[in-house]
């Protein structure tokens, strides 16, 4: 009898759940219809009627709307510093005048694109209610604005072109590629943003640091993002897809006895809260990180000048590929050289830096063993969740399942969007949403799921032996092993470390460089012993260093991260805002370790070293 009751109540609960899920779905569908309808109708009206006499008509309009919910919690030492939930809808409009061959994009000058004094541009946010007319009104004003500025820059671009000598090849290069019309709708994703639960977790994880007075500053940030993305363009493409990201980020910093600022971080990413590791694992990893940071305080300073084999492992291997080949607008990311308005604009552009690889297509750029592919539609790798996978990109282009970027060392193609370059004639669907500090806004060209394999994989033991052997051959006492590199997204630019700003300004002068290493070891040839050292600077990690990879693991590891991305022509503004945390969610599946045959390693020369705190931390137990 009792059992039967339980069964009945279970059935009731299930049916109740089913009903609420259904009504939620119905509600979502109604919302989706209104938003998509407003976008479609306003695009049609504008493409048909938006004109100014004697000026070019718009030939392409696209609207992107993010209907987003966010939750952000920051905590330090067991207390919540900030906790909020947000719901917003913002839009992004793209409009081009001219035609596919020649339009207002791919143009840069120093007069336009700047601040235009108008209040009309204000409303970038849409009504949170499903207000059809309200959505259309916001799109109307934004489209109107963009049309006016697009016609202006088109006229300036045409004038600039008339004053310049261009190669036939440059003249023939179209501005925007044609692509097939895509209609795709994926069901929305919804997960519970349980603020109370995650505040509790934030307190618990950040509270770990109260036991460690040797760490001077620590902070934890939890960021949940969940949105429904709508894309519609005047070519007829309509897509609607969910996007979600969850992140837990812990930053910690301290100083060595000689004042050197030291910092480390732990970052987890997932698409859903369930993708994050269990609380216990996160705690263990934080404690481990704290311990290694404390060990770093008393680690010997690296005073030598070393040239020899360097092994990267785990996070450092993944960061190595991410930063060298997939950040900003260099490496394996295509980049269109814009038409410039005048010589001053050209010299401005050239400061962007980075290595462009397009001219080296069909030549060997990396060690023969290495193959690099993008697998944009992949969502997990042997059970591990990948945050870089998707079905359709931010220009409504469906990416192929596989893009071979480098085959056995030879460069084949680059990641691309609908902006064409000399050797890239179509998009491979890599226009990605930019995840910001608290929002997702517009998009940029960048990586998806990147798979790096070695045809000559070794075991970890073999690799370490190889490292030692290489050092021996060079007559070195030790080799260098790098286990962790600062993640550029950790955004840890804090008062404690004025050097960060110095390197930032230097970087903008020299082009993108590498972030500083966190965990570097000397591996002694004699007995294989590993010794942690600090104040280490890695030499120039240019792409050519990749030509001499002496070995890589057969075992692959998954690294989910957010890659800082370029914005503006040729990534000009990619380093404009340090620690802005804007980037593209990507996954890297890379060999666990790899050895670079030769790299310079030397002491970090600091221009400025802050003093230690005068009074000891109040956390010191009496």
């Amino acid at each position: 009898m009792k059992n039967k009751n339980i069964i009945i109540s279970l059935i009731l609960i299930f049916s109740f759940l089913a009903i609420s899920a259904l009504s939620l779905f119905a509600q979502n569908q109604a919302t989706r219809d209104i938003i998509q309808g407003a976008m479609r109708d306003e695009i049609k009206r504008n493409i048909d009627k938006l004109r100014l006499e004697n000026l070019q008509d718009p030939f392409f309009i696209s609207y992107t709307i993010h209907d987003a919910r966010t939750m952000e919690i920051t905590a330090s030492l067991g207390s919540i510093i900030n906790s909020n939930k947000n719901h917003y809808r913002n839009h992004h409009v793209r409009l081009m005048v001219g035609d596919y061959n020649l339009n207002d994009e791919n143009y840069f000058d120093l007069t336009g694109g700047g601040y235009r004094q108008t209040m009309l541009r204000g409303a970038d946010r849409l009504p949170l209610e499903d207000n059809y007319s309200g959505i259309r009104r916001a799109l109307w004003i934004a489209t109107d604005n963009l049309y006016k500025s697009a016609t202006e820059s088109f006229e300036r671009k045409k004038a600039a072109l008339e004053q310049q000598t261009l190669s036939e090849e440059d003249k023939a290069l179209a501005d925007f590629s044609k692509t097939e019309v895509v209609k795709q709708k994926s069901p929305p994703i919804e997960f519970d943003m349980d603020q109370e639960k995650w505040e509790k977790i934030a307190r618990e994880l950040s509270g770990i640091f109260t036991d460690y007075s040797d760490i001077y500053s620590s902070q934890l940030r939890i960021f949940f993002y969940q949105s429904d993305i709508f894309f519609t363009n005047s070519e007829g493409t309509e897509t609607n897809k969910p996007l979600s990201l969850v992140a837990v980020q812990i930053n910690a910093s301290t100083q060595a006895e000689d004042g050197e600022p030291l910092k480390d971080h732990v970052i987890y990413y997932g698409a859903m809260p369930g993708d994050l590791p269990p609380l216990k694992s996160m705690k263990d990893e934080i404690i481990e990180t704290v311990k290694s940071l404390i060990a770093l305080k008393s680690a010997p300073v690296f005073e030598d000048s070393y040239t020899g084999p360097v092994m990267f492992s785990n996070q450092a291997t993944a960061e190595f590929f991410a930063q060298r080949l997939f950040s900003g607008s260099s490496g394996l990311i295509s980049s269109r050289k814009p038409v410039v308005g005048d010589p001053r604009a050209a010299s401005f552009l050239n400061r962007g830096g980075g290595e462009q690889l397009e001219d080296r297509i069909d030549t060997r750029i990396i060690s023969r063993d290495i193959t690099i592919k993008a697998l944009p539609t992949m969502d997990n790798f042997s059970g591990e969740k990948l945050i870089g996978g998707y079905q359709v990109d931010e220009e409504g282009v469906k990416p192929p399942e596989e893009v071979v970027l480098v085959e056995r060392g030879v460069l084949k193609t680059l990641l691309s969007n609908r902006i064409l370059t000399k050797k890239i004639s179509q998009s491979n669907g890599h226009e990605r949403p930019l995840v910001g500090a608290g929002t997702v806004s517009s998009s940029g060209l960048g990586p998806s799921v990147i798979n790096v394999t070695s045809s000559n994989g070794m075991t970890e033991t073999e690799l370490k032996q190889e490292l030692i052997q290489l050092a021996k051959d060079e007559g070195l006492e030790y080799a260098i092993l790098v286990k962790k590199i600062k993640s550029p997204i950790s955004g840890q630019v804090r008062r404690l470390d004025p050097m960060a700003f110095l390197t930032m300004s230097r970087r903008s002068q020299q082009g993108p460089s590498f972030t500083e290493p966190i965990l570097v070891y000397r591996v002694f040839v004699k007995d294989g012993r590993e010794e942690l050292v600090r104040s280490v600077k890695l030499g120039s990690l240019s792409i050519s260093t990749l030509r001499r990879i002496s070995g890589a693991s057969e075992k692959q590891v998954v690294y989910n991260t957010v890659v800082p991305t370029a914005s503006g022509p040729m990534g000009l503004f990619s380093f404009a805002s340090p620690g802005s945390n804007r980037g593209i969610a990507a996954s890297f599946i890379v060999p666990k370790s790899l050895i670079l045959e030769e790299l310079e390693v030397e002491n970090t020369k600091r221009d400025y070293t802050p003093k230690l705190p005068v009074v000891a931390s109040p956390l010191v137990k009496k």
Binding site: M119, Y132, D144
Partner: protein, 415 residues
């Protein structure tokens, strides 16, 4: 190497009182009530804007802040006080055919949200605003002009805040980079004898309306005070933080800052008084008489403003700029007042100050947040309409953007 500065006062004052003051934390939820109610209200306030096709922006914002300030010093001061502000602002803007963007603003302030519950009056204000916007769109543009003008109470308040208030902030008298307009004016007559100016941080309301510049203790732990800055036209005192200057060794409770900034002397409730005020009608007549005397066909009435700014340094010209939103021409020949657009009120402080002659008998309040080196601090001004015998206006900076090409989409969904 620098030569010695003129002012050799101490760096930090010794204050007679060490304050211990404690207010219990507020129950924010009870004071605010249901947030939804306010969401519905701001929607309701903005709804009328949609009825006018030419209005491109209509916005209402409700802002509720509770700040609990804790101050502990090594001298023994211990203060916990609550500052609570509820602000409602409504704005709309329209564009004239020549591209000029014409905004109007209306704001309401009370400490507690319940002090803002007058829906019908607000909606009536919105409707008035819409009508005014539509008239502004058609209004003629004024050319640069000098001549007599009346500043409404709100305009006069902002004018005094910018032109006078920022120049009597004590710490500015110390820096050799600052203009120090009033430094040597102590005991001198700077305004007509019938006028006085007080900065009164202790005043919580005026005429039943809450004043935003009220506080119990400033951000250096000194009790908020009433400081008579101008008495019967004679300059009497600076606003003081704990940074002493010549002749003023102590704070008078005006060391203020936004949380996270270092306090400097800032304004509180600026109150302009006159013991020889005239009625609105008389004020108009005096203006017309003055215009005739100067041979001007009209004077200007600055009815409402959105704010202003000023520069107090030495390198740049020591000027002020008040940004009016509603300006009328008052004709000497009996024609009705004419709404005009396109000008800012500009000038240099001492000249403009010497031109203030009469004060009206109707007071108006301007509540707002003042921004300067110690961040944004809540302030207010209470002022009568003022007559200045000579004001100068310059052309407003203007958008060149033409109005939207397509009409506003008002269709219903086609689905």
């Amino acid at each position: 190497m620098k030569v010695a500065e003129e002012d050799t006062s101490a760096d930090f004052s010794i204050e007679p009182d060490v304050i211990t003051y404690y207010e219990a934390p507020l129950d924010i939820k009870t004071i605010l009530g249901d947030k939804k109610v306010w969401e519905e209200k701001v929607k309701k306030y903005t709804a009328p804007f949609i009825e006018s096709k030419d209005i491109y922006g209509g916005q209402a914002t409700f802002n509720f802040t509770v700040e609990r300030k804790n101050l502990i010093t090594s001298e023994g001061t211990k203060i916990s006080q609550n500052l609570i502000y509820s602000r409602l602002s409504v704005s709309g803007f329209i564009k004239s055919e020549d591209g000029m963007e014409l905004p109007l603003y209306k704001s309401y302030f009370a400490f507690e949200p319940k002090g803002l519950s007058f829906d019908e009056a607000i909606i009536a204000d919105v409707r008035t605003m819409i009508k005014k916007l539509e008239r502004l769109r058609e209004a003629p543009v004024v050319d640069p002009y000098t001549g007599p003008a009346i500043l409404s109470g709100r305009a006069a308040g902002v004018f005094f805040h910018e032109v006078f208030g920022h120049r009597v902030e004590g710490h500015r008298q110390k820096s050799e980079q600052e203009g120090q307009t009033f430094k040597k004016k102590l005991g001198e007559k700077i305004l007509p004898q019938h006028m006085s100016v007080v900065f009164d941080a202790t005043k919580k309301t005026y005429d039943g309306r809450d004043l935003m510049g009220y506080y119990k203790y400033d951000d250096e732990g000194v009790k908020g005070q009433s400081v008579p800055v101008v008495k019967s036209g004679v300059f009497n005192s600076f606003l003081m933080s704990r940074s002493p200057i010549e002749n003023f060794s102590c704070s008078n409770g005006h060391g203020r800052a936004q949380a996270g900034y270092r306090p400097v002397s800032r304004q509180s409730n600026l109150i302009i008084e006159s013991n020889a005020s005239v009625s609105e009608q008389e004020l108009r007549q005096i203006l017309i008489d003055e215009c005739k005397k100067q041979g001007k066909p009209f004077g200007l009435l600055f009815e409402d403003i959105r704010g202003g700014f000023t520069m107090t340094g030495r390198t740049m010209p020591n000027v002020f700029n008040v940004l009016p939103t509603e300006v009328y021409r008052i004709y000497t020949d009996g024609r009705p007042d004419e709404l005009v657009r396109g000008v800012d009120l500009v000038g240099t402080p001492l000249v403009m100050f010497s031109m203030v002659s009469e004060a009206g008998d109707k007071f108006d309040i301007f509540n707002g947040v003042c921004g300067a080196e110690s961040g944004g601090v809540p302030v207010s001004s209470v002022a009568p309409a003022l007559l200045v015998t000579q004001a100068e206006v310059q052309k407003k900076s203007k958008s060149q953007e033409r109005p939207p090409i397509l009409p506003r989409p008002d269709e219903k969904p086609t689905m």
